[in-house]
C-alpha cells in the first residue's frame, strides 16, 4: 500500500517537473508579455501544485502543510499574473499579432451598453 502511494507520488512529481520545464521554455520562447504570462503562470501553477501533491503522496505525514501550500499557490499565482497582465494592458503594450483585435475593449463597450 505504501509502495503504491510512493509510485503515485513519483507520477505526480514527474508531471509537475514536465510542466515546470515547459513553463520555463515558454517564458524563453514566447514573443510578447501576454503569451509569456500565460506560459509562466498556467504551466508553473499546475507544475508546482502537482509537484507538491506528489510529495504529499510520498510523505503522508506532511500533507496538511503541503495542501496549505497548494491552496496558497492556487490563490496567489493567478492573482499576481492578473495584476501584471492588467498593468501591461493599461500601459498600452501591444500584443504580438498581425490583426488588430482588442477583446477587452469590446467587452467593455458591451458592458456600457447594458448599463
Amino acid at each position: 500500500m505504501g509502495n503504491a502511494l510512493t509510485y503515485l507520488g513519483y507520477f505526480f512529481v514527474s508531471i509537475g517537473a514536465i510542466f515546470l520545464f515547459l513553463g520555463a521554455l515558454g517564458i524563453f520562447r514566447m514573443p510578447d508579455v501576454y503569451t509569456r504570462i500565460q506560459a509562466g503562470t498556467k504551466a508553473s501553477t499546475l507544475g508546482a501544485m502537482s509537484l507538491l501533491l506528489g510529495v504529499a503522496f510520498m510523505e503522508p505525514d506532511w500533507w496538511i502543510k503541503l495542501v496549505a501550500m497548494i491552496l496558497f499557490i492556487a490563490f496567489s499565482n493567478p492573482l499576481s499574473s492578473h495584476a501584471i497582465a492588467r498593468g501591461s494592458y493599461k500601459n498600452k503594450l501591444k500584443p504580438f499579432s498581425q490583426e488588430d483585435i482588442d477583446a477587452y475593449e469590446e467587452v467593455k463597450e458591451k458592458m456600457e451598453e447594458k448599463e
Partner: protein
C-alpha cells in the same frame, strides 16, 4: 621621478610584510575554535536548536541590539528627510486609479495569511530558520500589498512609533534585568526549558518577538514614507 621611486619603495615594503604574515598562516588548518564551541554548547546549555539564533540573540546579543538601533536610525533618518506635507496642487505618486476588484479582494484574503506567516517565523525563531528580522520583513510586505491594492489604505504613524518604542524598551529591559540579577547584559535569566519545545531558550523567544514587532513597524513606516513622498519632478512631467 623621486616621488615615483618612493611610492614603489613603500609599496614594496608593505607587500613584503603582507606576504611575510600570510605565509606564516598554515593553509587549510582551522585555528578558531569558537564555532565548535557554539555548535557544542547552544543545544546543551541554552536548549536552542537553531544555532544561528543562539549566536545572534544570546552570545552576540549586544550586536543585535546595535543592529536594531541602526535599522531604527535608518528609518528615522529616511522619514526626516523624505516626509513632508502635501503642498497645494501636488499629487500622490501612487496610481491614480484603484486596482481591480480581483486584486483588492485577493489581497484582503492574503493579508492575514501573510501576517500569520510572519508571526510564525518570528515566534519559532529559536526552533527553525528565520527570526525576528525575517518575520518582521514578511509582515512589512503584507502592508506593502495593502498599500499597493488600496489607494485609501492609511498607515498610522503614531501607532507605529508606539509599537517601535515599546518593542525597543522590552529588548533593553530584558538586558538590564540580567544586569540586576547579577549576570551580564542580555544574559539568559529565565529557565531554559527543553530542547525543541516552543517555550525554550529562555529570553531568546521574547527578544525575537520584540524584534519582530519592531522591524515590522519600522519597515511599514518606511514603505509608507517612500510611497507617499511627493516628488516635484514627477508632477512636473504631467
Amino acid at each position: 621621478m623621486m616621488k615615483r621611486f618612493f611610492i614603489f619603495l613603500i609599496l614594496a615594503i608593505v607587500g613584503y610584510y603582507i606576504v611575510d604574515v600570510v605565509s606564516q598562516i598554515p593553509f587549510g588548518e582551522n585555528r578558531v575554535n569558537v564555532g565548535d564551541y557554539y555548535l557544542d554548547k547552544s543545544p546543551s546549555e541554552l536548549k536552542v536548536s537553531n544555532t544561528v539564533t543562539a549566536i545572534v540573540v544570546n552570545y552576540r546579543g549586544f550586536d543585535t541590539l546595535g543592529e536594531v538601533t541602526v535599522l531604527f536610525l535608518a528609518a528615522t533618518g529616511l522619514a526626516s528627510i523624505m516626509f513632508r506635507r502635501k503642498r497645494k496642487g501636488e499629487k500622490d505618486i501612487r496610481a491614480k486609479k484603484a486596482s481591480s476588484r480581483i486584486i483588492q479582494i485577493g489581497s484582503q484574503i492574503l493579508f492575514p495569511i501573510i501576517i500569520l506567516l510572519g508571526a510564525y517565523v518570528f515566534i519559532h525563531g529559536h526552533l527553525s530558520p528565520g527570526g525576528g528580522f525575517q518575520g518582521g520583513v514578511i509582515i512589512a510586505t503584507a502592508s506593502l500589498l495593502m498599500l499597493i491594492s488600496y489607494r485609501k489604505f492609511k498607515v498610522n504613524h503614531s501607532t507605529i512609533s508606539w509599537i517601535e518604542s515599546i518593542a525597543g524598551i522590552v529588548f533593553v529591559l530584558l538586558g538590564v534585568t540580567g544586569l540586576i540579577l547579577g549576570k551580564t547584559f542580555l544574559e539568559n535569566f529565565l529557565p531554559t526549558g527543553e530542547l525543541n519545545n516552543l517555550l525554550s531558550g529562555g529570553i531568546i523567544g521574547i527578544i525575537y518577538v520584540a524584534v519582530g514587532f519592531k522591524v515590522a513597524a519600522e519597515l511599514t513606516g518606511l514603505i509608507d514614507t517612500l510611497l507617499l513622498n511627493n516628488r516635484p519632478e514627477a508632477n512636473k512631467e504631467k
